[in-house]
Amino acid sequence: MSLLETKSLTKYFGDTHAVDHVDFSVAQGELLALIGSNGAGKTTLVNLISGLLRPDSGTILFQGADVTVMSVHDRIRAGIARSFQLVTVFDQLDMLDNVCLAIFARDGKTRRLLSLANSDHAVSEEALGVLREFGKANLLAGGLAQGERKLLDVAIAYALRPKLLFLDEPTSGVSTREKAPIMDIITSIVRSGKITAVIIEHDMDVVFRYSDRIVVMHEGAILAEGTPDEIRRNEQVTTTLLGTRLEAHEHARA
């Protein structure tokens, strides 16, 4: 059984068919890459699944349960977490507090008004552990370099200990040199078990190198899906979508 399944999921913005009768599924434990040109509907699909947007029609099943109209809060409880295409961290909190907050929220501790946050050593220890996995530092989140902010963004979502993690372009706006370390960390948290991840990614090098499976979207629909090799060989994908970029990629390899 898939971890997540959407059935005929649909969202229109006026005349734009952003997500059009999409049957999308994610298997337990995989690192799935969701690709497609600008405006293909990738972010909208994630917005629907994570609860930021309500679909016009269709259903979303998570671990077999219907979560289509569940609140964001309840979806997070159920184990769906996400990051955003534009980095969003809490700029005036330091890195540690960014991660601590996620843990407090996960454990229902943000209801506590009359105890000091930094006196909860279990939480600070856990947050430090997460930051260590991500290469730690302790600065105000607002003063970080783009690559570090991207990582912190992922760390916040990861600290929620989700079952399914959506990362919307975790390496965009980051120099090529910084991409590999980010992807290595993401891969290692997926491989270490318990987490299934879906990354939206434009960099085909990254997609082919790191993903187990690829889903290609085009104009609101799923155009193709398969292993990296299958997608690489898929004529329809290479010609209509990735043509130039893929050639360039093969060129670079040769």
Binding site: S50, L52, V72, H73, I76, R77, A81, R82, F84, T88, V89, F90, D91, Q92, L93, D97, C100, L101, A102, F104, A105, R106, K109, T110, R111, R112, L113, L114, S115, L116, A117, N118, D120, L140, I156, A157, L160
Partner: protein
């Protein structure tokens, strides 16, 4: 929130000397000066509450006169209709009244942010102001309602004791203790997991939602706590002033609360406290020495925005950090 890391020990180390000074001051200065300081501390309590919304939750209320006024009028009604003059009953009544209305107004307002939030809080407070104005047979209209000196913890004021002496001694200490407790509790709140959640909402509402913080609910609780603090301030203010009039429900009074918080610096914990005390002196002396006092305040506000946008405490903080880095 400030970039000087917060620890209870460090906070206590800086708070204790100030508490000691505030404790011994009545022995050193004239009673009138002590009452001015009592006003300042009361405004500081109001501003601490206000700043939980502005500085920590990112919501600018233009309607905090409502809670200050409710605290004050609750006391006046207790005197008028129940003929009770116990300060503890005043506190209970003032806090309950401001909490009830903050719960209701907050429920209506927290779905909005920025200018919409500001306008809605302002409009709701103006409703209370017009009620105080129109129902003059209950509220005394523009004449307001008088409030006598209360008994403190059951102890009556000895007959014939000068009111100024009472206010500058026993009442001052009463206010001081409530201020110290209130400020400590607020310090804990802003450093609690709840306080961190508010700051997360301030920094990025959507992201806060997506770590599982129920944004409206948290804003509502912040609004409630904020209203209670400002209501508590109004409750303490009215025996000191001896009279409550609709002025303190008017939106211009909300403007004053905004003013002292910005004056002190809303991005620091201590800013609103400093702002409340300093503003009170500023207004008192500006009113005493010139008929153009509103212009004086206006000029101060302009200078503040242009020269010290971080306020008094924020600027001091930066200087300290800079000196430390250079040392």
């Amino acid at each position: 929130m400030s970039s000087i890391p917060a620890s209870p020990k460090r906070a206590l180390l800086s708070a204790i000397p100030i508490a000691v000074i505030l404790f011994f001051l009545p022995l050193l200065v004239a009673p009138y000066q002590v009452t001015l300081l009592a006003y300042g501390l009361i405004f500081a309590i109001a501003a601490l509450g206000f700043n939980l919304l502005l500085g920590y939750t990112g919501l600018l209320s233009f309607g905090h006169s409502a809670y200050f006024g409710l605290g004050a009028y609750a006391v006046a009604f207790i005197v008028k209709y129940l003929e009770i003059t116990s300060m503890e009953v005043f506190l209970l009544g003032g806090v309950l009244a401001s909490a009830a209305v903050a719960a209701l107004f907050g429920f209506l307002c927290v779905r909005y942010t920025r200018i919409f939030f500001g306008i809605l809080t302002l409009a709701l407070s103006q409703v209370l102001w017009s009620l105080a104005f129109k129902f003059y047979w209950v509220t005394g209209g523009t004449d307001g309602l008088r409030v006598p000196t209360p008994s403190l913890m059951g102890v009556r004021n000895p007959a014939g004791e000068d009111k100024m002496i009472f206010l500058a001694h026993r009442y001052y200490y009463y206010v001081l203790v409530i201020f110290l407790v209130g400020a400590s509790v607020m310090w804990v709140i802003v450093h609690s997991p709840f306080g961190k959640a508010l700051q997360a909402i301030r920094d990025n509402e959507t992201r806060a939602e997506f770590v599982g913080v129920q944004v409206w609910r948290y804003r509502w609780v912040a609004f409630l706590v904020s209203g209670i603090y400002t209501g508590l301030a109004g409750t303490l203010w009215v025996p000191l002033n001896g009279l409550t009039t609709p002025d303190i429900l008017h939106w211009t009074f909300s403007g004053k609360i905004v003013f002292f918080t910005v004056l002190g610096g809303f991005q620091t914990f201590t800013g609103p406290i400093i702002g409340g005390v300093v503003y009170n002196y500023l207004e008192t002396y500006a009113v005493g020495h010139t008929v153009y006092w509103q212009m004086v305040l206006g000029v101060v506000l302009v200078l503040l925005v242009l020269v010290l946008p971080a306020g008094i405490a924020g600027t001091a903080n930066r200087l300290i950090l800079k000196l430390r880095r250079e040392a």
